[in-house]
């Protein structure tokens, strides 16, 4: 009978060699897939608590792509508004501009899904996933609004998001359980989502009215 201590290394080696080997997906936290706007929004909230406006300035520099592109799409330039709010150390204005930017992003994701007529299911799902992340940012304020005004916008938004997800259809597995996309339903539900958000956040009114132009 071999001593247990002599057998342990062999057992460990066998376990290591037979262990289910995972694949490499990418390095570090980059694979977690947090949207830059979400990250910057959360960071900014933290920096505002610490009154660290230099850090907010750096965070705003990181979001050049949405600031420049949304300026083109909506013809509303948020960058000078951010810089002005940072210079004046105006917490409310910084936060309001950040919220407007997120609202622009929601409308932009919806716009591309409509423009594609939901014909690119993978991309459409990816956009909706990001919209869900944006909704999570607004959720506390939406619930707060509901409590104050005895409304039920949060439940309505959740239903709208579920409906939007259903309207994207299903690719199915080898055709089984496949469901076609319903662009009309998507347009109806997403339009309502944009309206509801503009009711809860009155400073979205200008962004809601703006017609997106991408060419």
């Amino acid at each position: 009978m071999p001593k247990i201590r002599n057998v342990i290394p062999a057992i460990v080696l066998c376990l290591l060699l037979t262990f289910n080997v995972s694949e490499v997906l990418g390095y570090g936290y980059g694979v977690r897939g947090k949207d830059t706007l979400v990250a910057v929004y959360e960071d900014t909230a933290g920096f505002l608590e610490k009154n660290d406006y230099a850090a907010i300035q750096r965070a705003v520099e990181e979001i050049e792509v949405p600031l420049v592109n949304y300026h083109k799409y909506y013809r509303i330039d948020l960058k000078p508004l951010f810089l002005d709010a940072i210079e004046k150390h105006d917490k409310k204005a910084v936060l309001a501009n950040m919220e407007k930017l997120i609202y622009f992003a929601i409308r932009e994701k919806i716009y591309w899904n409509k423009k594609d007529n939901l014909e690119k299911p993978i991309a459409a799902k990816a956009r909706l996933k990001v919209i869900l992340q944006y909704y999570e940012l607004f959720k506390p304020q939406i619930k707060n609004y509901d409590e104050k005004n005895h409304s039920a916008f949060n439940s309505e938004i959740v239903e709208l998001l579920v409906g939007m997800n259903d309207s994207l259809g299903e690719v199915g597995s080898f055709g089984y359980n496949a469901k076609p996309a319903n662009p009309e339903e998507f347009i109806r539900l997403s339009g309502r989502l944009e309206d509801v958000l503009a009711i809860i956040f009155p400073h979205f009114a200008e962004g809601r009215k703006a017609v997106i132009v991408t060419h």
Binding site: V21, L25, E64, T214
Partner: protein, 504 residues
């Protein structure tokens, strides 16, 4: 031998080594961050946040604390981090010199210290923005104290040195937790010291005090870290990181299970080539000759006494840890064992020169000639690497600069792997996608704001896609824009990166 006059002389030699070590390291500090991990440290100087990998878990609290202090003085992330490395890289020579002195005497101590002073890996790591140089200082310091404790006769002196070793080890683990295998040596020496005692009270003291000091030291940096980020966040990020490290990108035995290849990579690529300077080419061949003969003579002539066992208990647990759980593509992971290997090589080299003197005659200066050739070859090789690093940008930095020069951020999305982190630091305005699971269409929809005019893909991302069996569609037309490279002996990872442009 060790009177006050001698003590001063030996200290002056040590001081000279430290000063020259600092000057050689300070003068050639890296000007750029070239890898993912060092960007983590640089970003962590402004905002210490494990959830954002600033830095990545376990958080390197002592390293970050010290570098942050320097950052408040020099106001530049790269300078602060590399200055920390230079300071502690040079300081390592002090405990190292005294350790070898106590083990084998003055001449081997000076020779081994000179080997460490100009060792390619130690010199390089003492100029880069990584915590290894600082951690190795504390590991060598704990090694010195442990050896003195083991050799001491008086239980009070033993206790004093064991407390010193525990303190150094505790701080060292706060610099780099992955150096925990040193605990084996620590435990072995404590047990050996206890065995030498007759009184139970002495035995108890030799166990309890070092343990308490180690626990208290660890508690200080751990508590400080937890107080910053919270216990649940700390634990959560730690578990996430461990899972990622072992199951995804950590380069451990679980994701690279070919043990033969891992042994080959560890001993040939990491230790011999990167760690000691062996390999092909005239200088490297010359060094291979000296290293091989020194190790051979050590093996043939050295008795397996306490000193040899001490070095073995230092070396073996850490090498076992590296082979199982570290990324062998990063030779920096073996830096902790370089001092031990240099002690072995310098000891073996003295056996070699003794044999040469017997052969050529005692009056011959063959030992000086051989030592000079060995040191000169090592210096030339290491200096060439250091100077290359000093004047050449890492491939990933060249890539970032090329993209910045040629493509506007609002029009561009970049699919890349580790290079993402370099964009985060040098060009955070660019949208990068580093998730190998995502399709191009999906990645753009998920991460970009609008429609990009330019889609760039690096060869590192292509490799990830290939690993997942994904090939580009013919319509996507990858067009090679440029390839970027740096010397792989300076930085092993991402030494060649190609950049492709796809049809948007």
């Amino acid at each position: 031998m060790y009177n006050s006059k001698g003590r001063k002389k030996y200290f002056l030699i040590a001081l000279l080594l430290v000063i020259s070590g600092f000057l050689l390291r300070y003068a050639f500090r890296a000007k750029y961050l070239g890898e993912w991990d060092c960007v983590d440290f640089a970003l962590g100087l402004r905002e210490y946040n494990l959830a954002k990998y600033q830095p990545h878990p376990p958080g390197y609290p002592v390293y970050m604390f010290f570098s942050r202090f320097l950052f408040s003085l020099v106001k530049d992330e790269v300078s602060a981090l590399t200055l920390t490395s230079a300071i502690f890289g040079a300081l390592t020579l002090l405990p190292f010199y005294y350790l070898v002195w106590w083990m084998y005497g003055l001449r081997p101590a000076i020779f081994a210290s000179l080997l460490l002073l100009i060792n390619p890996l130690h010199w390089l790591m003492s100029t880069k923005a990584f915590p290894e140089a600082m951690a190795v200082f504390f590991i060598v310091a704990s090694g010195f104290f442990l050896y003195r404790a083991a050799m001491g006769k008086d239980p009070k002196a033993k206790l004093k040195f064991l407390i010193g070793a525990s303190l150094a080890l505790g701080i060292g683990l706060g610099v780099r937790l992955a150096y925990f295998p040193q605990l084996f040596l620590w435990a072995w020496v404590i047990l050996a010291c206890r065995k030498q005692q007759e009184k139970q009270a002495d035995k108890n003291k030799l166990l309890a005090y070092p343990f308490l000091v180690l626990a208290a030291t660890i508690f200080v940096w751990l508590a400080a870290q937890v107080s910053i980020i919270g216990l649940s966040a700390f634990a959560g990020e730690g578990i996430n990181f461990l899972r990622g490290h072992f199951q995804n990108w950590g380069g451990t035995v679980l994701t690279q299970p070919n043990l033969f290849l891992r042994f080959k990579e560890l001993f040939i690529q990491d230790i011999l080539i990167h760690g000691l300077g062996a390999g092909n080419g005239f200088l490297r061949l010359l060094l291979t000759f000296f290293i091989a003969l020194s190790i051979l003579f050590y093996r043939l002539r050295e008795h397996f006494d306490f000193r040899a066992k001490f070095l073995l208990y230092w070396l073996a647990p850490y090498l076992a840890w590296v082979i199982l759980a570290q990324n062998l593509n990063n030779p920096r992971h073996i830096l902790a064992v370089i001092p031990v290997l240099l002690i072995i090589i310098s000891r073996g080299f003295f056996y070699l020169t003794d044999a040469a003197r017997k052969f050529f005659g005692q009056s011959s200066k063959i030992d000086y000639a051989l030592s000079s050739i060995f040191l000169a070859a090592l210096f030339l090789l290491s200096f060439n690497l250091i100077f290359t690093q000093y004047r050449e940008k890492p491939a990933a930095v060249k890539l970032v600069e090329y993209v910045k020069k040629g493509f506007a951020a609002p029009d561009t999305v970049i699919f890349c792997n580790e290079e993402k982190r370099l964009f985060d630091f040098y060009a955070p305005q660019y949208i990068t996608v580093s998730d190998g699971r995502l399709d191009i269409e999906e990645g753009v929809a998920y991460y970009f704001y609008g429609k990009p005019k330019v889609i760039l893909v690096t060869s590192e991302m292509m490799a990830l896609w290939q690993g997942r069996g994904r090939t580009l569609k013919p319509a996507e037309h990858p067009k090679l824009l440029k390839a970027f490279a740096h010397n792989p002996y300076v930085q092993n990872s991402n030494s060649v990166i190609s950049l492709y442009r796809l049809e948007a």
